[in-house]
Symmetry: C2
Subunit: 400 residues, 2 copies
C-alpha cells in the first residue's frame, strides 16, 4: 500500500538538499564545520559516561539540564541579555528550536515575515507548519524596516491578520553575510513592539566574527519582550552534538517544553557540552574557530578577486558565507549546475527565497568557505571560474 495519505499542510515542501556530490568535488555548499576545528571531546565524554552516567544515559528533563540552562543564561548575560534559566529551553540544535517555535505559534495559513533572501532551511520548516510568507527586501543593513512598516500598516488597514512572527538572522545573515547595524536593530524592535509581532533572532554565527566590534544582539536590546532568541553549539563546538537552545518568555518556554516530544534532548550530549564549557575550553576554541574561518574567508575572497572579478560581493566580517552577484544575464541556477559539473558545489541564490516572486534577482549564488580546507578553496574557486566561463565565455576570456 502506497502511503497516499500525506498531510495537506506539509505538501509543498522544498526539494531536499542536493544529493551527495561526485567524489573529488569541493563543497562550498555546506554549513559543515571545518574538519580543522572539530574539538577533542574524549575527556568530556569520559566524564559524562562514568561520573555522570546515571544522568547522561537516562531521560533528561524536557527543558534541558538545569546546569546547562544556567550556563547558557550566563553566557547570554555576558552578551548583554537579561535572561535567566527559566528563559532557556535546550533543543536538538537551532533548527529544532525554530520547529518548536512553529509548533507553539503557527496554525495553517498563518503568515511569517522573512527577509528576501532568507535562510533556506528555515523555509521548509515554516512551510511544513502551514505558514505563508511575507517577504521583505534586504539591503546592506538588513531587512528594510521602512518597507516593513508600510507593509504592516497596509495589512492592518485591510484587516488582515497580524503575522505570527518575524524571522531573521541579524548577525552574518545566511546567505548574505549582512550584519544589521544598531540603529536598524532599534527601528526593527520598535516596529515589532508597536505591532506586537515577536522577532525570532536566529543567531548561529554571532561569535564567528573575524574583525570589528559586535553589535548588541536583538535579545540584549529587547525592552518589550518581543525577541525569541535561537542559539546553538553547532558553530561554537560541533554540529554533530545537536545541542542548541531558545531563549524566550517563560510562558513560551513552558509551552515549547510541553510540545517537546523528544523526552528531553540527549543528556549525554548536554553533559559533554557543559563539561567543555565549565572547564573553560570554549573561549580558546572560539578563537580557533575565528582564526580558521578568517583564513578560509581570506583565501576565498582573494581567489574570487583574482579569477572571478565579474562576480561582486560584500566581504563579510564573520559567518560562513559569500553571497555573490553574477552579471545580470547569468542565471545562478545555471551557474550552480555548471559548477557541479566542474567539481565544485555552490548553491543557487534562488533557493534562498521563500516565494517564486519574479522580482527576486536570479543572478546570485552562495559560497560557503567554512567546510573546505584552505588549500581546496583556491582550486574550488578555479573550478567555479571554469564553470562561469562556459556560461559567459567572452567576458571570462577577457580577464584571464
Amino acid at each position: 500500500m502506497e502511503p497516499v495519505f500525506f498531510a495537506r499542510r506539509a505538501a509543498p515542501l522544498s526539494p531536499a538538499l542536493p544529493a551527495a556530490a561526485a567524489p573529488g568535488s569541493i563543497a562550498f555548499d555546506s554549513g559543515h564545520a571545518s574538519p580543522a576545528v572539530l574539538p577533542d571531546l574524549t575527556a568530556e565524554a569520559e566524564v559524562a559516561l562514568t561520573r555522570c552516567r546515571a544522568e547522561a544515559l537516562q531521560y533528561g528533563p524536557r527543558p534541558g539540564l538545569p546546569e546547562l540552562r544556567r550556563w547558557i543564561a550566563e553566557f547570554m548575560q555576558q552578551d548583554g541579555a537579561s535572561v535567566n534559566s527559566e528563559n532557556v529551553l535546550i533543543t536538538n540544535g537551532a533548527k529544532h528550536a525554530l520547529e518548536l517555535v512553529c509548533r507553539a505559534l503557527v496554525d495553517e495559513g498563518d503568515s511569517v515575515i522573512v527577509t528576501a533572501p532568507t535562510y533556506f532551511s528555515a523555509i521548509p520548516i515554516l512551510r511544513s507548519y502551514g505558514a505563508t510568507f511575507v517577504e521583505v527586501e534586504q539591503d546592506r543593513d538588513g531587512m528594510n524596516v521602512d518597507a516593513l512598516a508600510l507593509l504592516l500598516d497596509r495589512r492592518a488597514r485591510e484587516g488582515r491578520p497580524r503575522p505570527k512572527f518575524l524571522y531573521d538572522v541579524p548577525d552574518f545573515h545566511n546567505p548574505t553575510g549582512v550584519t544589521v547595524p544598531l540603529a536598524r536593530r532599534a527601528s526593527l524592535l520598535a516596529l515589532a513592539a508597536q505591532h506586537r509581532i515577536p522577532i525570532v533572532e536566529d543567531s548561529p554565527y554571532r561569535k564567528v566574527r573575524f574583525e570589528g566590534a559586535s553589535v548588541p544582539s536583538l535579545a540584549s536590546l529587547d525592552d518589550d519582550n518581543v525577541v525569541i532568541h535561537l542559539g546553538t553549539f553547532a558553530k561554537l563546538m560541533a554540529p554533530g552534538l545537536r545541542v542548541g537552545w531558545v531563549a524566550a518568555h517563560p510562558a513560551l518556554v513552558a509551552r515549547m517544553a510541553q510540545l517537546k516530544t523528544d523526552a528531553g534532548s540527549s543528556p549525554l550530549a548536554q553533559r559533554i557540552v557543559l563539561e567543555f564549557c565549565v572547564n573553560g575550553r570554549l573561549p580558546s576554541h572560539i578563537r580557533d574557530v575565528q582564526r580558521q574561518y578568517r583564513e578560509n574567508r581570506d583565501r576565498m575572497v582573494a581567489a574570487m578577486h583574482r579569477v572571478l572579478p565579474e562576480l561582486f560581493f560584500d566581504v563579510p566580517s564573520g559567518g560562513y558565507y559569500l553571497w555573490a552577484s553574477c552579471p545580470e544575464d547569468v542565471n545562478g541556477d545555471d551557474l550552480a549546475a555548471q559548477a557541479r559539473q566542474a567539481g565544485v558545489i555552490v548553491i543557487a541564490g534562488s533557493r534562498f527565497y521563500a516565494s517564486a516572486d519574479a522580482s527576486h534577482p536570479r543572478n546570485r549564488i552562495r559560497l560557503a568557505y567554512s567546510h573546505a580546507l584552505p588549500d581546496e578553496i583556491e582550486e574550488g574557486v578555479s573550478r567555479l571560474a571554469r564553470a562561469f566561463g562556459t556560461i559567459a565565455p567572452r567576458r571570462h576570456a577577457a580577464v584571464i
Copy 2:
C-alpha cells in the same frame, strides 16, 4: 509582551508529567531504565570521538548513518521482517518517530485510532498535530478488532473520512502489559488492509521479554505494506542516547526525512550505538536487561500479592508495567494522590485515555517496576498499601 499567539491546533494539551517528586519518594511512575543496566559506553564513545571524529561531530545524513540503517534492517530481518536500509529512518527516539509520522500524515481534524487505554505520551503528540481520537476498547488480547470492524463500517456508511492511522503497542502494551496473540494480529492486519489504514506499531518493549516465545511482530506479518514500525535503543541500551527508528514504505521514509528538520539525528550518538552493536555487545546486554526487569517484576508482583490483594492485575511476561485494577469504588486519581503523600509515585489510569469518555474505568493505576531498585520495590508497594488503606480502610484492615 506575553506570547498570546499560541497556535490553536496545539491548544488542548495534556498537563506535563508530574513535577519532581519529594526527596525519598520511590518512583513507580517512570519509564526510566534501571540504573543497574546502564551500560559502560566509554569505549564506544572513545572510538566515535577519535577514529570517527569527522563523522560524529559533523552534521549527519538526514535519514541516519547508512551503516546504522543497514544494521537495524538486519536486526529486523532476524525478527522476520522484510526490511532494507531504505525502509529505515533514524530518529531521536521512538517519540520523535511518532512525531514524524504525524508531521507526514496528520492534518488538523484528522482522526487516529488508539486503544483505550493507550500510551499516555502518544496522546499529546497526536493531539498537538490536531488529531482527534477514535478509541477502541482493549481486552486481554489487545485491541478489540470486531469492535473496530463495526466502527469502521459505520463510519464508512456515514461517509466520514477514513482515520489517518491506527496506533498500538502490540508487545507488552503500555500501560496494560498486554501482548497481542498471533490470530488477533492477523485479524487486525487484514482489517487495516481492507480499509487501507496504516498501523503504527510502537515496539519499545519487544525484546524485554521474561518468558515464553515472541509473537511475530506486525512488521513481520505485513504482506500489504500497512505497517509503520517504531523502534528504539532507549530500552535496549539507554534512553539518554535518544536514538530510535521508524521502518516504513520508502516513500514515507523519504517524506519523513524531508520533514526531519533536525539536520540529522546526532551522528555521535548513532556511532556509539553502532559500535556497541557491531562489537556484539547487544545480545548479552539484552539478557542483562531481561534478567534485571524479570527480578524487578517478580519482586513487585510478590509484594502486591502479599500486601495489596485487593488490587487485581495480569502478570506481564515482559515490558515495564503492571496495570492494576482497584475495587470499583476506589478512584485511581485519588489513590495516585494519596500514594504521592505516602512517598511512592504511581500514575492514575485516567491519564491513559485519549478522551474523557465517562465509560472509561476510573479505578486503574499503572506501576512501573523498571526504574526502582529491587530493594525499593517492596518498600514502595508497602507505601502504596498504606495509601490504599487511607482510601479504603476497612477492606485493607481486613486483610492485614
